[in-house]
C-alpha cells in the first residue's frame, strides 16, 4: 500500500513532462520536475514517520551518504563534459585500501593524502585511455576497473586491513556540534564544485565541451585538457570517499562496496544530469542524492522489507532515463537543410 502510493507519486511527478506542450518541455521543467518528486518523496516519508527528519537521523544519513555524495559530485563533472566512469567503485575500494595500509603505520593526514593521490592516479589512467587514446569511456573504464580491483586484491590478499590508530577514525566518526565531519567535508566539496562549475573558466568550458565538442574545439577551447581534468577530479573525489569509508570502519578490504557505482550513477541521473553531456549541475545531483538517500533510509524508517528496495530503485532510474530521453527528443527532430 505504502509502496504503491510512493511509487505512483514519484512516477506522476517524474512523468509530469510528458503531457505538456513541446514548448514547455525545457531543461528548467526537467529540473523542477525532479525537485518536485524529491520534495514529495521526503514529505511522504516524513508524514509516515516524523522521525525521518529528526536531527539524529539527518546527521546519520549525511555521514552514511558522504562517500557516495562526494563521488557523485565528481561524476557530475565527468558527465557534464560528456564522459562516464564505470571504474569508480574499484577506485573507491583501492583508495580505502591505500588509506588503511598507510594508516597502519603513518599519520591520518598522510593516509588521507595517499588515498587522494591514488585516486588522482587512477583518474590519470582513465583520462589517458578515454581522452588520450580515444577509447569509448564506458569500455575503457570497465577495463581499468578490473585492473584497479586486481591491484586492491593483490595488495590485500583479499583480507581486511584493520587500523588501530586513534586519529584515523576522526574524519569518519567524529562530529562537530552534532554535524558529522565527513558530511561537512562532503558539503564543502559540493559547494566548491558547484561554484567552480558556475563561475569559473573551467566550468564554462566544461558545459561548452559537453554541449558541442566540435564547436568548442573550433573556438580554441582545449577540449582534451577539460575532459581529462574532470577524470582527475573524479579520481580525487573517489580517493577522499575511500578514505572516509576506511575511517568510518577503521578498516578496508578490496571490495568495500561494489554497489556504490550504481548508487552514484542513480544519484547523477535522478538529478537530471544528461549522459549526452552539456547539461547538469551540482544542485541537481544534490536533489538526486536526497532522493536516493530518502528511498534507502525511508525503507528502514518505514520498516519495509529491504527486498523491495532494489525493485524500487530500478523503477526510478528507468523513469528518470525515460524522461531524459523524452525531453531530449522534443528538442531534436526538426528537418535540417542538406
Amino acid at each position: 500500500m505504502t509502496i504503491d502510493r510512493v511509487s505512483s507519486t514519484v512516477m506522476a511527478a517524474v512523468g509530469a513532462g510528458h503531457r505538456l506542450s513541446p514548448r514547455l518541455r525545457t531543461p528548467m521543467l526537467h529540473r523542477f520536475g525532479t525537485l518536485l518528486a524529491c520534495v514529495l518523496l521526503v514529505a511522504i516519508v516524513t508524514t509516515l514517520n516524523p522521525a525521518f527528519l529528526s536531527a539524529i537521523n539527518v546527521a546519520n544519513m549525511l555521514s552514511q551518504w558522504a562517500p557516495a555524495g562526494i563521488m557523485a559530485v565528481g561524476m557530475t563533472l565527468v558527465v557534464i563534459v560528456g564522459g562516464f566512469d564505470l571504474s569508480i567503485a574499484s577506485i573507491y575500494s583501492l583508495c580505502a585500501v591505500a588509506a588503511a595500509l598507510l594508516g597502519q603505520h603513518h599519520s591520518a593526514t598522510f593516509a588521507f593524502a595517499g588515498a587522494t593521490s591514488a585516486g588522482v592516479l587512477a583518474g590519470v589512467c582513465n583520462a589517458t585511455l578515454s581522452v588520450g587514446l580515444r577509447i569509448n569511456p564506458y569500455i575503457a573504464t570497465v577495463g581499468s576497473g578490473f585492473v584497479i580491483t586486481g591491484i586492491s586484491l593483490v595488495l590485500t590478499q583479499n583480507t581486511a586491513i584493520f587500523v588501530t590508530s586513534d586519529t584515523f577514525g576522526i574524519l569518519g566518526a567524529e562530529r562537530w556540534h552534532g554535524f558529522p565531519i565527513s558530511g561537512l567535508l562532503f558539503l564543502c566539496i559540493a559547494t566548491g564544485s558547484g561554484i567552480a562549475l558556475k563561475y569559473t573558466i573551467f566550468g564554462h568550458m566544461a558545459y561548452a565541451v559537453g554541449g558541442n565538442a566540435e564547436a568548442s574545439k573550433l573556438s580554441g577551447i582545449p577540449i582534451n585538457v577539460v575532459r581529462a581534468g574532470t577524470y582527475l577530479i573524479l579520481g580525487a573525489c573517489c580517493g577522499i570517499a575511500g578514505f572516509i569509508s576506511a575511517s568510518q570502519l577503521n578498516s578496508a578490504q578490496s571490495t568495500v562496496d561494489a554497489g556504490i557505482l550504481f548508487d552514484v550513477a542513480t544519484i547523477v541521473v535522478l538529478g537530471g544530469n544528461s549522459f549526452g553531456g552539456g547539461v547538469g549541475s551540482i544542485w541537481q545531483t544534490m536533489v538526486g542524492l536526497v532522493m536516493v538517500a530518502t528511498i534507502s533510509n525511508g525503507f528502514v524508517m518505514l520498516d519495509i522489507s529491504p527486498f523491495y528496495q532494489s525493485l524500487f530503485k530500478g523503477i526510478i532510474i528507468i523513469a528518470a532515463l525515460t524522461l531524459d530521453s523524452v525531453l531530449k527528443g522534443a528538442n531534436s527532430g526538426r528537418s535540417q537543410p542538406p
Binding site: H204, L218, S219, V279, P337, P338
Partner: protein, 513 residues
C-alpha cells in the same frame, strides 16, 4: 500510383511524348528546408529508354529533386507518379554523389548489398561471383571481389556503386555525378553501358557538371536554377552556351558597389600551401579586403580554410600575417594567436553550443578576457556579449535565448561575433549565408563590410556565385585541383565565373581524352 495506360485514350499518340513511355512523372514539386526554398513548382517526366539530364549550379535543386524521386525525401507539395511497369519491377535506384559503400565489406558484398543472389533462401556465392565477373567484364575492370571496399581507390568505389545499380536491374537509374572521379577509360565504358541500358529500356536520370559530357549522353536536358525548372528540351536543341545561359540568373545583379582603395598593405600572404594533393596555394590578401573563393563543391575550398585555421596540422607551407612569417598553425589556438579565425561551414554542428545562450557562446572564444584569476565575471561577460552583439547588429534581448532556438541568420551573427573579441587580422567565412534569408544575408555582409573598414580582412567561400560577385573585392576561382583565375570585382560577373569554372571541367576532360 499507376500512370500510363489510362491516359492513352484521352491523348493522341505523339512521337516524343507518348504517355506509356513515361516511367516517372513529377509534377509541381515544392520542397522547403529551414530558410531555403530548395524546389518550387518543378515538373519533370522521365521516359523509358532515354537519358534525361539535370544541369544547374550548386544549390539549384538537382540533388533534392532526385532525393524526392527516389523517395528519400518527401515533397512539401506536388506528386510523384511511378509507372506500374517500373513499380512492379525493381523500382528506382540511385547512384548518389556521396558514395554509399560499406568500407568493411568486400567488393562483392558491396555490389550485391541491396539485392543478394540466393538459392533455397541461402546466399548463393557462386551466382554472385559469376554475375560480378560478367558485369566487371562489361566495365573491363578486374577489382578483386574479395578486397575490402575501404581499401579501394575512389574511382574503384564509384565503379562498385555503378555496378550495384546495374545488378539489381532497376527500371530507372539515377546517376548523380557518376563520372566525377572516374578516369577516361572507365568513363568510356560507362557511356557504352548507358547505351546498352537505354537499349534495354532502362530510363536514366543523369546529373553532371561537365556540359560536354551531358550534351553527348543525353536525350533530354532539364536546366534548374535556384530551385526552379528553367526549361526542358531535347538535347539536340541545346548548345553549351545555351546551357550556361539558362543556368545563370537573368536578372541583372546589383554590382555598383565602389571598390575600395587598392594600394593597401598585405594582411596575409599564403605561399606554397599544400593541403592534400593538387597544386599548392599561393595568394595574397590585402588589409580590409573581402576575397572570395569560388568553385564547385569538393574542389578543396573548405580544406584550404581549415588549413589556415589550424585544423589541418599535416598541411605544409608558409604564412605571413601582417608582416610576420610563420608556419601553418597546428591547432586552433595557434591560429588565433596568428590572428586567423574561422566561421565554419556548419553553424549548428561546428559553430555553436546550441544548448547554451548566445551570451555564453559569444564569450567562449575568449574566456580569459572576462575573467579575474580563474573566475569568469558575469558583468564582464555581459558587457563583452553586448558589445559583440551590437557590432553584429544582433538584438541584445535575444542573447539569453539558447543558440539552438535562433534563426539561421542570428546564429551566423553569433558565429562571427564570437571572434570579434580576439581582434582577428583575418576572418575566414565558410558558406556564411547558407540557408539564411535575403534580409539576414544583406545584414551579415553589411556588418562584415564595416569590420573590413576597421582593418579586418576576410576570405569568403561560397557556393553562390552571385554572392561572390556582389560582395567580394576579388575572387579566386578554383577547379580541377588548381587556382583557375583571379578576378577583380569589376570582372567577377556570375557569367564570367560560370564560364571559367565549367570550362575547366571541359578542358580536363579534353586533355585527358
Amino acid at each position: 500510383m499507376t500512370f500510363g495506360t489510362s491516359n492513352r485514350t484521352h491523348r493522341p499518340l505523339a512521337a516524343v511524348d507518348r504517355a506509356d513511355d513515361v516511367v516517372v512523372s513529377m509534377s509541381a514539386i515544392c520542397k522547403h528546408y529551414t530558410g531555403v526554398q530548395a524546389l518550387s513548382d518543378v515538373s519533370l517526366k522521365v521516359k523509358k529508354g532515354l537519358v534525361h539530364s539535370l544541369v544547374g549550379g550548386n544549390g539549384a535543386g538537382k540533388s533534392t529533386l532526385i532525393k524526392i524521386a527516389t523517395g528519400v525525401e518527401k515533397p512539401d507539395s506536388g506528386t510523384v507518379h511511378v509507372a506500374a511497369s517500373v513499380e512492379h519491377g525493381r523500382g528506382i535506384t540511385a547512384i548518389y554523389q556521396e558514395l554509399t559503400i560499406v568500407p568493411e565489406m568486400t567488393a562483392l558484398s558491396n555490389v550485391f548489398l541491396g539485392a543478394p543472389r540466393h538459392r533455397y533462401s541461402l546466399l548463393s556465392r557462386k551466382r554472385m561471383l559469376s554475375d560480378y565477373r560478367s558485369i566487371g567484364a562489361r566495365f573491363q575492370t578486374d577489382i578483386d571481389p574479395q578486397t575490402p571496399a575501404g581499401s579501394l581507390s575512389v574511382a574503384d568505389r564509384q565503379l562498385l556503386e555503378i555496378m550495384r545499380a546495374l545488378v539489381s536491374r532497376h527500371g530507372v537509374i539515377v546517376m548523380d555525378e557518376p563520372t566525377a572521379s572516374l578516369g577516361v577509360r572507365e568513363r568510356q565504358n560507362l557511356y557504352r553501358i548507358i547505351g546498352e541500358l537505354k537499349a534495354q529500356g532502362t530510363a536514366i536520370v543523369f546529373i553532371g557538371h561537365d556540359l560536354d559530357e551531358v550534351l553527348l549522353l543525353s536525350d533530354e536536358i532539364s536546366v534548374l536554377r535556384n530551385g526552379r525548372l528553367v526549361s526542358t528540351q531535347p538535347a539536340v536543341g541545346w548548345t553549351r552556351d545555351g546551357l550556361v545561359k539558362a543556368m545563370l540568373d537573368d536578372s541583372v545583379s546589383e554590382r555598383s558597389r565602389k571598390v575600395a582603395n587598392p594600394d593597401r598593405a598585405t594582411a596575409l600572404s599564403v605561399r606554397n600551401l599544400q593541403v592534400r594533393r593538387g597544386r599548392p596555394w599561393d595568394f595574397d590578401l590585402l588589409r580590409g579586403e573581402i576575397l572570395g573563393i569560388g568553385g564547385l563543391v569538393g574542389s578543396g575550398r573548405t580544406s584550404l580554410l581549415h588549413a589556415l585555421a589550424g585544423l589541418r596540422p599535416s598541411a605544409s607551407g608558409t604564412l605571413t600575417v601582417n608582416g610576420v612569417q610563420s608556419r601553418i598553425p597546428r591547432n586552433v589556438r595557434e591560429a588565433i594567436k596568428l590572428g586567423i579565425v574561422l566561421s565554419p561551414e556548419d553553424r549548428k554542428r561546428q559553430g555553436l553550443v546550441l544548448g547554451l545562450p548566445g551570451r555564453t557562446n559569444l564569450c567562449l572564444t575568449n574566456l580569459k578576457l572576462v575573467s579575474t584569476a580563474m573566475f569568469a565575471r558575469k558583468a564582464r561577460m555581459d558587457a563583452l556579449a553586448d558589445r559583440e552583439a551590437d557590432a553584429m547588429a544582433f538584438a541584445r534581448s535575444r542573447l539569453t535565448v539558447p543558440a539552438g532556438h535562433l534563426s539561421g541568420g542570428n546564429q551566423q551573427k553569433l558565429v562571427i561575433g564570437k571572434w570579434l573579441s580576439v581582434k582577428p587580422a583575418v576572418l575566414l567565412l565558410d558558406e556564411p549565408t547558407r540557408g539564411i534569408d535575403v534580409g539576414a544575408k544583406a545584414e551579415v555582409y553589411r556588418t562584415i563590410r564595416t569590420l573590413c573598414d576597421q582593418g579586418m580582412s576576410v576570405i569568403v567561400v561560397s557556393s553562390e556565385l552571385s554572392e561572390l560577385s556582389e560582395q567580394c573585392d576579388r575572387v579566386i576561382l578554383i577547379g580541377a585541383g588548381r587556382q583557375l583565375a583571379t578576378l577583380q570585382h569589376q570582372d567577377a560577373s556570375v557569367e564570367a565565373m560560370t564560364e571559367l569554372i565549367f570550362a575547366s571541367i571541359g578542358s580536363t576532360e579534353k586533355t585527358a581524352l
